[in-house]
């Protein structure tokens, strides 16, 4: 029943072991976890009677961070927001909300209930995003756990097992078993365990056996870890059949499945109870009166003494003279707004590409996933819709909202479609996982971030060096844009970070700019 590992697989493993040895030599690199600087490091001077005026261009998370912090210290802030709402890509959709996608305006028709919402932009907060979490605490934003990886959810690939969806736990248990068998075989060969002492080799081998649930002969022959074919409580459980390694290897989805809880999604993830925009509401409880809505910036001119901002609101052009300006308008849109920025600045603004991420969601007529032992988490498929998210909240309620597509890199595939084509594509894709998906869902919403009014793009893309990191030139352009113009105008937002698409990046970019400005103000007042 158990197939031996072939010679080719063994040779591949030899190469892989060389790779591990090389990685070990790299040493400390293994200690690097993506983390952010400690929270609450912001120590801004309270101005007292030395009031200064601030313009904040854009009411996204970075702009509101700036407004909140500066207002606390006695600054006179005005937030100019081009759209009808604050939050930017922190967008929670509920009953009646406008989805302002140009060419595809929609109103969200979900049932009007507190748990019936969809986070169409930011959706997850890792526990390591300390600065954002510190604001959640300060603003009394209640958090709950977000379930990201779920072993009872499905993995589906037309190339694997005739397209039959299998549970994530079947995929990962079998994959780990086979990988462990290969590794154990390698450890039992004299050449390969040579780099290790006897004690190290023994420790490693015991971990490998445990990793894959190998039998006494260091072979994988299936595992109860994948759950039972039957029984398990009042009767002894019956082990499920193994899935052949070769069958699993027909799919390349292990790249996502085996790494779902790594990197940014490795820490415990959270979401605000009631929707991600509770963070925005939290900020607006303090600075809401400072926001001007549907106010489109038309000009930003930096002078020796400050910044002159012009904006259109209600068909009238207004002007605003301030001491400092914090600007989170997407750089690709700022290029078209009158300004007097230096040319190296403009070069950097033009360099940044627009993100193309795309999301869709459906209202489920009942929580069909709970009937399948699924509570939260993600089903993965090798379709263009990619992901199906079951809500972490509203457990056992009548209905829920499922994410029906999340294409974070090649989002133009769906963005270029009509609304009807998009919906049909997601229905067809998810029928492969839930055969009657089409009948189970209703009231779809789709969000092509590339076309959302006043943003026209998802998170900024700095690196064009596909997967090979930033070039020296890109680093230079980035630092050019991070530095203030004449000490008066600061670009902020996750676009001014090396890790865009996270709220933490937006918060930290704002805090960096605030600290920089604070140092100048302290010097002036000294």
């Amino acid at each position: 029943m158990v197939n031996p590992v072939s010679r080719r697989e063994f040779l591949n493993l030899l190469a892989a072991t060389g790779g591990i040895a090389a990685a070990l030599r790299a040493g400390t690199a293994l200690n690097l976890l993506p983390g952010s600087a400690s929270a609450a490091s912001l120590d801004l001077l309270n101005l007292g009677s030395n009031q200064r005026k601030i313009a904040i261009l854009g009411g996204g998370i970075s702009g509101l961070t700036a407004a909140f912090e500066l207002s606390k210290q006695g600054y006179d802030c005005t937030v100019l927001e081009a759209s009808h709402r604050c939050g930017g890509r922190v967008l929670t959709l509920r009953h009646g909300d406008l989805i302002d996608e140009i060419g595809n305006r929609q109103y969200c028709e979900f049932d009007d209930e507190p748990h019936m919402y969809f986070n169409a932009g930011a959706a997850r907060i890792p526990s390591t995003h300390r600065n954002l979490l510190a604001y959640c605490k300060e603003l009394n934003v209640e958090l709950e756990v977000f379930i990201n990886e779920n072993k009872t959810s499905f993995v589906q690939d037309d190339n694997m097992l005739g397209g039959r969806p299998i549970r994530n736990i079947d995929y990962t248990t079998n994959m780990r078993g086979f990988m462990a068998e290969l590794m154990a075989k390698a450890m039992n060969s004299d050449e390969l365990d040579a780099p290790f002492t006897e004690s190290e080799a023994e420790t490693l081998l015991s971990m490998i056996r445990s990793f894959g649930d190998l039998n006494e002969n260091d072979l994988y022959s299936g595992s109860f870890r994948a759950g039972y074919a039957e029984g398990g409580f009042l009767k002894h459980g019956v082990q499920k059949d193994m899935i052949a390694f070769r069958d699993l290897l027909k799919s390349r989805m292990g790249r996502q499945i085996m790494g779902a809880n790594e990197g940014d999604t490795g820490p415990i993830l959270m979401q605000p109870a009631g929707g991600m925009d509770q963070i925005i509401r939290g900020f607006l409880n303090h600075v809401g009166e400072q926001v001007k809505y549907r106010a489109m910036v038309t000009s930003v001119k930096v002078t020796d003494k400050g910044v002159n901002v012009a904006y259109d609101q209600d068909g009238v052009r207004h002007s605003l003279e301030v001491d400092y300006c914090f600007n989170c308008i997407p750089t690709h849109l700022m290029v078209g707004i009158d300004h007097n920025f230096p040319s190296d600045y403009v070069t950097a603004m033009k360099y940044v590409r627009r993100g193309e991420a795309y999301k869709a969601a459906f209202q489920a007529k009942h929580r069909f996933w709970e009937d399948l032992d699924i509570y939260g988490g993600i089903s993965w498929s090798n379709t263009k819709s990619r992901q199906l998210w079951y809500p972490s909240h509203g457990i056992h309620k009548a209905k829920g909202i499922v994410l029906g597509a999340y294409d974070y890199s090649g989002g133009m595939y769906h963005t270029l479609m009509s609304q009807e084509e998009r919906i049909e594509a997601h229905l067809a894709d998810h029928e492969k996982i839930h055969p009657n998906f089409r009948e189970l869902v209703e009231k779809p919403v789709t969000i092509g971030w590339h076309r959302m009014n006043h943003m026209l793009g998802c998170s900024a893309r700095w690196s064009r060096n596909l997967g090979r990191g930033w070039t020296h030139e890109e680093e230079t352009l980035y630092h050019t844009l991070q530095a203030p113009v004449n000490g008066r105008h600061y670009f902020i937002g996750d676009q001014i970070s090396m890790h865009s698409a996270w709220q933490e990046s937006a918060v930290m970019s704002a805090q960096w700019a605030l600290s920089h400005m604070d140092a100048q103000v302290r010097a002036e007042l000294a």
Partner: protein, 219 residues
Amino acid sequence: MLSFVPLDVRHKIWGLANRILLALAICHLTPFTSAAAEREPYDDRYCTTCHGTDGRGNEGIEAPRLAGMEDWYLRRQLKNFRAGIRGYHPMDTAGIAMRPMAKLTDDSIADIVAWVGSWDYQPAEITIEGDVQSGELLYGVCATCHGMDAKGNAAMGAPALAGQNDWYLVTQLSNFVVGYRGRHEDDRYGQQMAAMVGTLTDESAIRDVVVYINSLETR
């Protein structure tokens, strides 16, 4: 005035007042669509998001200058985008990006054309270099329709070129040359233009002719 009211309630009152004022302002100034009275209204005057302040163009998002564009030309192009006569070729990425933006009613198009006509016009920034003398020779063919001064000719359906963003002229000439624009069977004027670009045999010829257009007085 409201100091006795708690902050969060004040914010709500403020928000409500703002929404009422805003709704009134929008009703008054711009056409809008609304599925239900309490729903957030929207309008189709979103052009400046991409096309920049007063429609002066935005190279960052490849959106050309609209200010100064003839009303008949703007109307025709919006309708072409709407019908898929323009922005149909997969390589015309900016054209494809424009197509959904032009999902407009005739009334919205009329409103936009009038709105564009109200914008302050300032000459476009010069961003490219080339051989102006070579460009002048090449421009001879163009002058037939677009005029010696590149100010356009409504009778011929040929828009003004002087004053347009030079990077946009380069992109469009290239598109006509390689067939990303002006090959659609219903694009009568586009076909006319595609037939005229034969003298622009390479990239430098395109740049030269645009540099010559740059040298002409704008308005």
